[in-house]
Structures are given as C-alpha cells and as structure tokens.
C-alpha cells in the first residue's frame, strides 16, 4: 500500500482528539419527543405566547442574528456556558416550558446542544424543548423567513 493512500487515515487519527474536544455532546442522544420543529416555535412567536428561549451556542452567531427575545448563555461545550445557563434558568419553575437552541453546525455535529439539554435535565426541568435545526440556524430558521433580531 502506498503511503499516500494512508494519508486520509492518518489525518483522521491525528485530528481525532481535536474533533472530539470540539464535539463533547451528541445531539443524536436527544429524544425526538423533546425536539421542537422550527415552524412550531415560529407559530408560538407569532401568537405571542413563546416560552423563554435560550441560545446555547456561540457569541459570534448570536450577535449576527438570533430568535427574538432569546437569551444568550454561552456555548454548552464550555463550563462557563453551562454555568451561565444554570444561573439564568435557576429562577424558573422546573415545570415551565423552556426552549434551547444552537444551530452552529449540522445537528449531529453540534458540540453544544446535548450538553445544554443534559444540564437542564439534571436541574430537574421537565418541559425542556430543543429546537431541531437540521443544518444550521441560518438555513433552518433565518432562510425560512422566521423572525430574527439582528445585532447583539
């Protein structure tokens, strides 16, 4: 076997620790039953009865556009982000509907959402919904024409 043929395999092996550190959570473990489709949340926003919404992703994305009234917690793949999330939701009744979302990258590659969901569950929240953004926030929310707030 030529060495060149081994390059892709070696590359994957070398980058594995970095990729693993970028994706500590696994969105595929989030039950379908707790996932919320974008259209459903958009309808709630339109009707004026949206629950508290938390963006558990990255600041540079939130600053460009986010769901109206969504609070920024910081990324779920960082201790600071999880701590902010905990502090922000601690005042809420545990049976209150709360929506969390990220949308930084394709659902199954998101490093934040599963960790944030687990945090909410660990705190005893019983009605957490996770916004299902298959590709990313841009493609699955903004490009669909759903409402956004621009700027941080």
């Amino acid at each position: 076997m030529r060495f060149a043929a081994l390059i892709p395999l070696l590359t994957v092996l070398l980058l594995a620790p970095l990729v693993a550190s970028a994706a500590p959570g696994d969105a595929l473990t989030i039950p379908v039953a707790v996932q919320m489709q974008p259209a459903e949340l958009a309808a709630m926003l339109k009707a004026g009865n949206a629950p508290p919404i938390l963006q558990v992703g990255f600041s540079v994305l939130y600053q460009q556009a986010h769901i109206p009234d969504a609070q920024y917690t910081g990324p779920g793949n960082k201790d600071d982000g999880l701590l902010n999330l905990k502090t922000l939701v601690d005042v809420l009744p545990r049976d209150k509907l709360v929506v969390i979302y990220c949308g930084c990258c394709p659902w199954e590659k998101c490093p934040n959402i599963a960790a944030a969901y687990k945090q909410m569950m660990a705190m005893g929240f019983t009605k957490v919904k996770v916004l299902y953004l298959a590709s990313n926030f841009g493609a699955d929310w903004v490009d669909k024409g759903y409402p956004v707030t621009r700027g941080g």
Partner: protein
Amino acid sequence: MSRVIVAMFAVLLTLPPAMAANVPAKAPVKLKVGDLAPQFVRGDLQGRIFDLKAQRGKIVLIDFWASWCSPCILAIPHLGQLQKKYSGRGFQVVGVSMDDSADTTNETMQKIPFNYPVVLGDAKFGNLYGGVLGLPLQFLVGADGKILAIWSGEFPPATLDKGIAAALKKISPG
C-alpha cells in the same frame, strides 16, 4: 456588579417575550453566485496582510471555519492539500475563523498546520458575507472577483475538488 447583571437577565427570562428589548438592525444582503465577493483586508494570524482585491486573477476559496466545527476541522488538511497542489496555477485558500476569541483560533493553529492565511472573523465580517449563521461555509471566488460557488453545510470533498478544478481550468488550462 456581575450579580446584578445576572439578576437582570433572570428577571428578563420571566417576562413575556414581547416585553424584552429588541435591537433592530438591518438584515445583511444575502450573497449569490455572480455577486462580487465583498472586499476585505485583514491582518492574518501568520503576521501578514490579506487583501482579497489583491488576489484578482486568482481563484480564491474563502473558508469560514471555527475550532468548534468538527466538519470544518476535518476539512482543513484537505484544503491544505489543494493549496499545495494548485498554488502554482493561481489558487489561494483563505481561512476565516469564526471563533469567539483569537486565543481559541491560535490554540487550534498550533495543533493543525495551515499552509494558507487565516484571518479572524466576527459578527461584522459574517454580516459582510450575508450572515454566517452556521458552518461549514465556503465561497469560491473567480479571477474577476465574482462568486463562482457557495457551499454550505457538509458535502463530499469531491464537490469542492471538482468546482476548484473547473474554475482553474478557465484561468490556467492544464
């Protein structure tokens, strides 16, 4: 002070959404194939200046990436290979890091060798390119500075290779 801020956020969470403050801002112009790639000049993290306009005559791949984006990280070695293979034919990759901090990008760059310039992006940069609201995202820019292709999300490396090869054929047959 920080406790006051946290308390204010906590109160905000309990308010009905309509009562919370919005900061209206203009939506960025969504870019499409054929548009002129927005001009930018930025210092790269390797200590040089990257000027997009100065690349006219070359095929440029603008790769928006971040340390937290695993598909982006996995693509970097392949982009490096393309840079090496085609640099003599007028091809240039430029990485735009969308990390929240330069430190994070620098840490990543210590772990992965980059053979092409990397500049730091931010929300303003994202808006310049129509809103970078998810990664991976790449723009292929032609020799005339116009966008030849926009690739968003995950796709096979062959798609990228084919697009770049086709673009290069126009400026440098062979």
